[in-house]
């Protein structure tokens, strides 16, 4: 009975595809809603862990993901982007705040209820070598999720496995092999297959291609794009590479030391970035074209620690525009057309750049 549901969904997805050929159009319906999300981790330092400190990994983050869109989350290491992904999957519990998945408030659910809900979500990690169980053949890897969630059995299960295998570009001869017999790109395909067998609605892609070479990366990104429009998937793409995020996403959120500093459509981010940190990120990405020199001002200083983040705007110690007001917390405000920015001075900055 349960196994009928995914099949129906595929048909629905296919129908949707024929209605709007090419890209799956994102609807206004919110699949994920994140409200005032906080996650602090306790670290113990010093002799006998006498020194207890809180790492402000995610601090008051608000955003939502629409059904059928690719939401890109970009930031440098330690900015909290991976923690956001884990929180949404319910793998770790937030310190404060709420997360809604299709109307369900995840923060009120217990682990068993979360596990049931997680059937509708998937995750793909950076290193397929460590996210795949080395002792499981491809067949076991792909059938285990269906067994756990009691989705399909027997012939139906085998059918799904073969269909998914084809979908991710592997063939039935691969079924009895172990992960170490595959290249990095193929391993990532297996990891994608493991997600697809459950027919999820939402997939977290946490640096899906950072461990891969450029040419293989292109294969995987193309595959992910194709699957998204075919099955009407919703992605949360987490990456430090602005090139990848820009290529894949519909909307982009930029994080800096636990805070979301800017959120907008990707064109808007590219053409009209308001937050000085977003501008810095755009400016320092090396351009694969020697004719275009990096125009960026390279800033002094480094990313501050999330244990003792600077007060107010966390970017102010490095910010070229910083004023005394920046020592107070900026609001994450709507500047129009769904463009949000957390900066006291965005008006002045935007005026300066339009001059």
């Amino acid at each position: 009975m349960i196994s009928e549901v995914p099949e129906a969904k595929i048909k629905e997805a296919e129908a949707k595809e024929t209605a709007t050929p090419g890209e799956a159009k994102a609807s206004e319906e919110k699949l994920i809603e994140v409200k005032d999300l906080k996650k602090y981790f306790l670290t113990k330092r010093g002799i006998f862990a006498r020194e207890k400190k809180w790492v402000h990994a995610v601090d008051d983050v608000n955003f939502n993901i629409r059904r059928g869109e690719v939401f890109g989350l970009v930031g440098e290491s330690g900015c909290g982007k991976t923690t956001v992904g884990k929180l949404i999957l319910g793998l770790i519990r937030p310190t404060a705040g709420e997360i809604y998945f299709d109307g369900h408030n995840l923060t009120e659910y217990n682990m068993e209820e979360l596990r049931k809900l997680r059937k509708r979500m998937g995750v793909i990690y950076q290193h397929p070598q460590s996210s795949l169980n080395p002792r499981m053949t491809v067949h076991t890897t792909l059938s285990r999720p269906m067994e756990i969630h009691k989705i399909a059995e027997g012939g139906k299960k085998e059918e799904t496995i073969l269909r998914v295998l084809k979908e991710v570009g592997l063939n039935p001869q691969h079924l009895d092999r172990y992960p170490h017999e595959f290249s990095g790109g193929q391993q990532q395909r297996i990891a994608i297959g493991r997600v697809l067998v459950l027919n999820p609605e939402f997939v977290v892609l946490d640096e899906p291609t950072s461990a891969l070479d450029v040419s293989v990366q292109a294969h995987i990104l193309n595959l992910l794009n194709e699957l998204q429009s075919k099955f009407g998937l919703t992605y949360l793409l987490i990456s430090h590479d602005l090139g990848i995020v820009d290529h894949m996403s519909d909307r982009i959120g930029v994080m800096y030391v636990g805070k979301m500093v800017e959120l907008a459509d990707k064109e808007e981010i590219r053409k009209n970035a308001l937050h000085p940190y977003t501008r810095l990120l755009l400016a320092v990405v090396p351009i694969v074209d020697p004719e275009q020199k990096r125009k960026g001002v390279v800033l002094k200083g480094e990313v501050p620690s999330a244990i003792n983040p600077p007060p107010g705007c966390r970017f102010h110690p490095r910010c070229p525009y910083a004023k005394p007001i920046c020592k107070t917390e900026p609001k994450f405000e709507d500047v129009g057309d769904g463009h949000y920015v957390a900066c006291h001075l965005w008006r002045a900055i935007s005026k300066e750049s339009s001059r």
């Binding site: 890209e23 440098e76 290491s77 290249s183 790109g185 070479d213 450029v214 040419s215 293989v216 990366q217 292109a218 294969h219 990104l221 193309n222 794009n225 430090h240 590479d241 602005l242 090139g243 990848i244 820009d246 290529h247 894949m248 996403s249 519909d250 590219r270 810095l280 990120l281 755009l282 320092v284 990405v285 090396p286 351009i287 694969v288 074209d289 020697p290 004719e291 020199k293 990096r294 960026g296 390279v298 800033l299 480094e302 990313v303």
Partner: protein
């Protein structure tokens, strides 16, 4: 015409393993001029790191062995040097920075001690350039050169107290302390964030101006190459497949592999949709395909590509490509 600083000719480095001979570097030729930044770009396993380790004779042996070729550095063939002579060249005249600054620094010694160690060994004991009393001053001078803030205090700190970017700066300081004429940087910014990467790249470029050394950059990141280099070589499966002036090579890439590689990078500002990708996988280096090693993945593969190994052909203005589309030196 001035002699090149480094000339690598017909270099072949093989690894003799039980399952076969891995031809990691299989005939590589290039030159680096004085004061030039030369880039070697390629994917995992193309032999770019082995090339740089061969130059310094740091190939673990066994199983690795440099079977053929010449590495002429400042007029001398490094492959004919004794171990003792090589040790004097390393760190002194050629230095190398590696990808991961976390593992390159020793966690139990202070940063200052580690820089002092190399200065003491090379400049005090071996060359008597400076006296032992001057070493601490020189260490701080080096840290200032690579822009570590507050060097007088940071010099006594341990590596774990430094951030990734600062560790990489420390490595650069250590490597430059003996004024090498060639700096080999193997994936110098792969382990650091983009904003820090920009700082490190700017620093390297600035130091090249100041100290006039040559830099050999080895990376898989085409963006880093585009930003830094004067000339570039593209490696595939143990060979250089294309080489040339940065601007010409990026503007009109000739070898199908170079073209595909440049198109496969997602760039900011490209439309969502299909990324150009290269079909198939990097070939095994134990049993590479016959003929041109790229032919099984090449959209232009012809009959001759399956049979003969192409030679480097000059296409114009110092741009060379190893491909039969441009002649490829039909006789082998």
């Amino acid at each position: 015409m001035s002699e090149p600083l480094l000339k690598v000719q017909g270099l072949k480095t093989y690894f003799f393993l039980e399952r076969g001979v891995v031809k990691a570097v299989d005939g590589v030729d290039f030159e680096i001029k004085k004061g030039e930044i030369f880039g070697v770009v390629g994917e995992t396993g193309c032999g770019k790191s082995v090339t740089s380790l061969s130059i310094l004779r740091l190939i673990p042996s066994p199983p690795g062995k440099i079977v053929e070729g010449e590495v002429i550095f400042e007029g001398e063939n490094l492959l004919e040097k004794s171990k003792e002579e090589m040790r004097k060249i390393r760190g002194n005249r050629i230095s190398m920075i590696f990808q991961d600054p976390h593992t390159s620094l020793d966690p139990v010694f202070t940063v200052g001690y580690q820089i002092a160690e190399s200065i003491e060994l090379h400049q005090v004991i071996e060359q008597h350039l400076i006296s032992a009393e001057e070493v601490p001053r020189k260490v701080i001078e080096m840290l200032k050169l690579v822009k570590i803030p507050d060097p007088e205090h940071r010099v006594v700190e341990y590596p774990h107290m430094f951030s990734g970017g600062m560790k990489q700066r420390t490595m650069i300081a250590m490597m430059l302390s003996c004024n090498p004429s060639l700096l080999i940087a193997d994936e110098p910014t792969t382990a650091v964030d983009v904003t820090i990467q920009a700082q490190i790249l700017d620093l390297m470029r600035e130091l090249r101006q100041k100290l006039g050394m040559s830099i050999l950059i080895i990376t898989h990141n085409l963006g880093v190459i585009a930003e830094m280099c004067d000339r570039v070589a593209v490696m595939y499966a143990g060979n250089i497949v294309e080489q040339g002036d940065l601007k010409t090579l990026f503007k009109s890439p000739k070898h199908p592999y170079t073209r595909a590689l440049l198109e496969a990078v997602p760039k900011v500002g490209t439309k969502k949709g299909e990324l150009a990708s290269i079909p198939g996988m990097v070939p095994s280096l134990i049993t590479p395909p016959p003929g041109c090693k790229f032919h099984p993945r090449c959209p232009y593969a012809m009959d001759i590509c399956r049979k003969k190994f192409p030679q480097m052909v000059e296409i114009g203005k110092g741009q060379l490509a190893r491909c039969f589309l441009y002649g490829g030196g039909a006789k082998k």
